[in-house]
Symmetry: C2
Subunit: 340 residues, 2 copies
């Protein structure tokens, strides 16, 4: 995480999130199925010899959820089951996405399917999915029955939306007519859905009414879109040492990103090279140059700025309060502007 004057607050939340996550995943240790637990704990980054938190995700979604709850005037500790639930959903989707995208590495370590094979990885993702929703149900106790039920419904609608985004992503791979317009429904599902659910659930756990929760949802949605485009940029122009991903993998794997779709529409030379055949590591420098020449990098960066501005203006409408309000703005900005 980027150093800031909110680090203390973030850490308080992050510690509580990690304790919560471990309690849930520990359920996989019951019934003697110890090794199913091992798979889940490995994926969560807990069982790594000689490594610390760098093998974990950044726990962005639960952090946004708890900060939204606090900023909306709620008691963040009541929202904790929601926070662990969104992080577990995120990790369920990573386990499955890594299989679907054939990704061998995550956070510099082998992915679950690479280590245990595809069948166990599919099943471990399914287990993570159920654990996530079992956590969401607990909001009925920590907050209120009707809010718990609403949270469960939001979570499942979000998961369904995730699969719609992923469906589009996978289907675009075999198509040659995908445009910039096709980008948005894909990322609304793949990325914005879960981040918007996070900020919305935070507001709901603070007993916000539907209108106010909807503003928080919008805020999360815009942050999510900006976050994804920044991810797209880093996937092409990022630094492997910081991102922990294989360099230029997004161009080599043919991933459909905003810069690529923009480049396809603006540069015939890039489009010819992209569509001709499989892209090899040797082609990457030239393709990257053509993409930059087409204005794709600038276009994508402009979208990031626009979306972040909109997101912060939206949050303002919700009149967030206290230290958490500032911390939320700080976190959103640093996520969207991150370099890794």
């Amino acid at each position: 995480m980027i150093p800031s004057r909110f680090n203390g607050l973030y850490q308080t939340y992050l510690d509580a999130i990690e304790v919560g996550l471990k309690q849930v995943v520990n359920r996989a240790n019951a019934f003697g199925s110890t090794r199913l637990y091992d798979i889940l704990a490995y994926h969560m980054g807990w069982k790594v010899r000689g490594k610390g938190s760098e093998s974990r995700g950044k726990r962005i979604r639960p952090l946004l959820l708890l900060l939204s709850c606090s900023a909306a005037g709620g008691e963040w500790s009541r929202a904790l089951p929601g926070a662990t639930a969104v992080e577990l959903v995120h990790n369920f989707s990573l386990i499955h996405d890594d299989i679907e995208d054939h990704s061998p590495l995550r956070h510099g370590r082998k992915t679950v399917w690479k280590k245990w094979g595809i069948p166990q990885a599919i099943n471990a993702g399914d287990a993570m999915f159920s654990l996530a929703h079992l956590e969401a149900i607990r909001l009925a106790q920590t907050v209120e029955v009707t809010i718990g039920l609403k949270a469960v419904e939001i979570m499942q609608n979000t998961c369904f939306h995730l699969t719609q985004g992923q469906y589009l992503d996978l289907s675009y791979e075999s198509r040659h007519d995908v445009t910039v317009d096709d980008y948005w429904p894909m990322v609304e599902g793949k990325t914005a859905a879960l981040i918007s659910a996070s900020t919305q659930l935070g507001a709901l756990a603070a007993f916000c009414d539907d209108q106010l929760s909807e503003i928080y949802r919008q805020f999360g949605r815009l942050i999510g879109l900006a976050f994804q485009i920044q991810d797209d940029l880093l996937g092409i122009w990022g630094n492997i040492a910081l991102t922990g991903k294989s360099i230029h993998s997004d161009l080599v794997t043919g991933k459909i990103t905003l810069p690529v779709l923009y480049g396809l529409s603006r540069s015939d030379e890039f489009a010819d090279r992209w569509k001709r055949n499989q892209i090899h590591l040797d082609d990457v420098p030239e393709l990257t140059r053509l993409l930059e020449l087409s204005g794709a990098r600038e276009f994508a960066a402009m979208q990031v700025t626009r979306l972040l501005d909109e997101a912060l203006a939206t949050l303002n409408q919700a009149k967030p309060v206290g230290n958490a309000a500032d911390a939320l703005v700080n976190l959103a900005s640093s996520l969207v502007n991150r370099q890794y």
Copy 2:
């Protein structure tokens, strides 16, 4: 379904189940993701040129759920969202299991992964999973909020239990020390969990108290275990024309079943052949003979009879009422004694 005097009743329920299922899966037609819908509808057996219901599952779980609800004195139509939910969970698990087990055929048709590839099949299973749970939440409206919340929790615990059973099944494949004792925790998760949830949810939707719902759950659990062992028997001694599966696939694929585990413990000759190397189609007649000689077929058949007797005695304790009570006994018996 085996012809019986309850066919009219079954058909009433089955028609309502099919209407409910179609309404849910239609949600995948929203957001323009028409082809995600196509995948799900294909799997459910609705889009089959020149074929009728033989390309569908038997909808056993939702039927047991609705009959349990009626037999417990409830209004079955209120339990419908539970019925569609359990059937969708079953189908989610089939889509993923078919990938994990590398099965090319189901009901005589290509499996989803075989037709659309592994990535889309994983994702379609995930979509089915979310739709299932969105349905379960609707019980909060059709029955009552607290019962809806309880149902959602039972469903997720069941799904988690499913993954534990599947984890064991997959891990047994690479082990040579699996015994008859190891069989039970695997099938408790893989098969009994969802069938026991079905009968329990039916009772809950009839406003049964915890004690009575627990009896219905036990009944379903015993039926589930018996059902699985019968499935094991059919996988070795069944008739391909009726089951629609590749003949002897359970011996060829090395599937861990009760007859095989019994045979391994009783026949050194069978154990030698089983462990030596991959089993080919040519080896199947001799292996089947050795297995039968070991008493495995008789042992498994005895377990089926014992479990069915226990199940019916358990149901009796619940004092089921009306035509549905008799239909439930009839259905349970015919499922367990089925030849396909």
